[in-house]
């Protein structure tokens, strides 16, 4: 029995934009269990990043956030900046996509990690340094004593991301949110980093949230997968189940569109035309209906609710795919 670490309920985020309202996140509900891995998958504009940043309070002030996000019982939405900072970096940590932008180019990496350590704990400088070296070892940075003194530009992308992970782990968080953390990395480096994250999860008992556009990544590394489209969750299931019994046509379309090594060259790709909807003018019915092969009149008229139609497997569709193997 895993306990609920993070309970998000009916989270909504809107942005004002030139007189109109952009509904970036439109009522999202999910739970992260301690020690487990949840992947949130979606394309750009799906709301996956915005919803996570809303939980940790990292959105611009113009954002309007409603709903509930309880971390071990404490409501995070609406917390003051100061109180949020107590959680951020301590119990909840984030790793972002582009380490080049997240790291200070004029500071040695050792100092930056030490900064994270000292932000949440009262340790002396030498103690902090010890902890930093320990963290660098934890993230499998070769020759940590020397790397301590290097600058970000002297490191490769993979190593920079390890530094970001070290910063995130500085206070042994209970939840680590990896927001497209490996997207900018080469596939070989990505495999290294993902393996590291999983090992750390096992060793530290951390929960892991993977936010990505890469369905393959989700399949390989997550326990449970959420698929988002136009600000809403459209399907959620344990990874094994989702990929063998996909229901939501959008999820199926995502599967079919991924290039596969097994496919022969020039095999025709099943193509979905159109584009995601304008978040400032969402349709009344299902957001995916304009592009969906299976759409019918009721899809356009009314948005299907997200419901647990099968145990452990939720989807929001009036006409889901028949229970078929994912292609």
């Amino acid at each position: 029995m895993s306990d609920h670490l993070l309970d998000v309920e009916d989270l909504k985020v809107t942005f004002p934009a030139r007189g109109k309202e952009l509904r970036a996140v439109d009522g999202v509900t999910y739970t992260v269990h301690a020690g487990r891995t949840l992947a949130i998958v979606g394309e750009s504009g799906s709301g996956k990043t915005v919803s996570c940043r809303a939980v940790v309070g990292l959105l611009p002030p113009s954002a309007v956030v409603t709903g509930s996000a309880r971390f071990q019982g404490t409501q995070l939405i609406g917390l003051s900046d100061d109180r949020m900072r107590e959680y951020r970096g301590a119990d909840i940590a984030m790793v972002f996509q582009d380490p080049a932008r997240s790291l200070n180019p004029t500071m040695r990496i050792g100092s930056q990690i030490a900064e994270a350590v000292r932000a949440h704990r009262h340790v002396t400088k030498p103690e902090a340094r010890e902890q930093v070296i320990e963290l660098l070892r934890l993230v499998r940075m070769p020759v940590p004593e020397r790397r301590y003194f290097e600058y970000p530009h002297q490191l490769s992308g993979g190593m920079r991301q390890r530094v970001m992970i070290a910063i995130a782990l500085a206070c042994r968080p209970k939840l680590l949110i990896a927001d497209e953390a490996t997207t900018a990395l080469d596939v070989t480096t990505q495999a290294q980093i993902m393996e590291l994250l999983l090992d750390l999860q096992a060793d530290l008992g951390m929960a892991l949230m993977l936010i990505s556009h890469d369905l393959g990544l989700a399949a390989s590394y997550a326990d449970e997968v959420i698929v988002m489209y136009a600000g809403r969750i459209v399907e959620q299931a344990p990874a094994m189940r989702l990929f063998t019994r996909v229901r939501m046509p959008y999820t199926q379309a995502l599967f079919e569109a991924i290039p596969r090594l097994e496919r022969p060259a020039h095999s025709p790709l099943p193509v979905i035309g159109g584009r995601p909807p304008d978040l400032a003018a969402l349709p009344a019915g299902c957001s995916f209906a304009p592009r969906c092969r299976r759409a019918q009149d009721d899809c356009v008229a009314e948005a299907p609710p997200l419901a647990e139609h099968e145990p452990g497997h939720r989807w929001a569709c009036w006409h889901p795919c028949e229970s078929v193997e994912a292609p």
Binding site: A17, E43, S44, G45, S62, Q97, T183, R275, P276, L279
Partner: protein, 296 residues
């Protein structure tokens, strides 16, 4: 890279969402006012200085009668009063404004055209062209301002045209360096490579790709430059190196008014106020345009 979503949210690559306008905290009419306020004022000033005297008779700015000397503002027939020689201040403001605007726009136009061309050529072709042009611009910038103006005034006699030449020596390298830097930055962009691969060459690339892209930067810079030129003209005239008396120039009016500062402070205050308001409007307009065009 175009960033459709607010910076915090874009994960780092354009994808297929419709570009979203940036969230603006300020209401639309405030933004419009910041643009059209100063613009409107400048248009008003230009109209007043250039059009009004031609359609509505004003007293001659240089042939006032001594009988009317030293009248205070709001005297009948002389809304701003008269100067110690009897000239109507209001009409001198208008004609002085003409000078100011002519000098300001003239200097800036020369700077834009000559400086812009030199800067773009230096930035685009690099190598020897860049070396030669950069040195030329450096020399121009190094010229001491007053010495040059003095020399021109002494050698060629003070006049409006000479003032424009003298001030152009500074506007050309100022614009030139900006144009060069902007061109250098632009040259590395992918679409420049794409344009060359499409077959466009040489000056055509500059005219059709570089000019439209650096124009906003140059234009906003030049607006500030107009203000600076006007002030410099004022300073030169103040020092007697610019527009000679009895012709009206805001600068020389201020210089003149100095002599009777305690008795008639308005003779200094009025031209100063106009100078201030005009330059401020130019700066505000430049800021508003810079914001609208997204120039950094």
């Amino acid at each position: 890279m175009s960033a459709p979503l607010p910076d915090l949210l874009a994960p780092g690559g354009p994808a297929d969402t419709k570009p979203v306008p940036r969230a603006r905290a300020r209401p639309g009419w405030v933004r419009a006012l910041r643009l059209w306020g100063p613009a409107g004022f400048l248009v008003l000033m230009l109209a007043a200085c250039f059009i009004w005297p031609n359609i509505y008779p004003v007293p001659n700015p240089v042939r006032g009668s001594v009988l009317q000397a030293g009248l205070p503002p709001l005297s009948p027939g002389h809304i701003f009063g008269t100067d110690p020689v009897g000239n109507d201040v209001f009409s001198r403001i208008l004609y002085g404004g003409q000078i100011s605007f002519e000098v300001g726009f003239g200097v800036t136009a020369i700077g834009l055209v000559v400086g812009g061309l030199l800067g773009m050529a230096a930035g685009y072709w690099g190598g020897v062209t860049d070396a030669v042009i950069s040195r030329l611009l450096d020399i121009l910038i190094a010229f001491p301002a007053l010495v040059l103006a003095l020399a021109i005034a002494e050698g060629l006699g003070p006049s409006e045209v000479h003032v424009i030449w003298a001030l152009s020596v500074f506007s050309i390298p100022a614009v030139g360096r900006i144009a060069r830097a902007a061109t250098l930055a632009l040259r590395e962009q992918t679409f420049m490579l794409a344009a060359r691969l499409s077959g466009t060459r040489g000056w055509r690339v500059i005219v059709r790709h570089i000019v439209p892209n650096i124009a906003p930067q140059l234009m906003t810079f030049s607006l500030l430059g107009i203000g600076i030129a006007i002030i410099l003209e004022g300073a030169l005239s103040f020092l007697g190196l610019g527009i000679p008396l009895p012709e009206a120039s805001w600068g020389s009016m201020i210089a003149q008014g100095q002599q009777t500062l305690s008795a008639s402070p308005d003779l200094v205050l009025i031209p100063s106020a106009f100078l201030f308001a005009t330059v401020l409007s130019l700066n505000l307009l430049g800021d508003a345009l810079r914001e609208r065009w997204g120039v950094r």
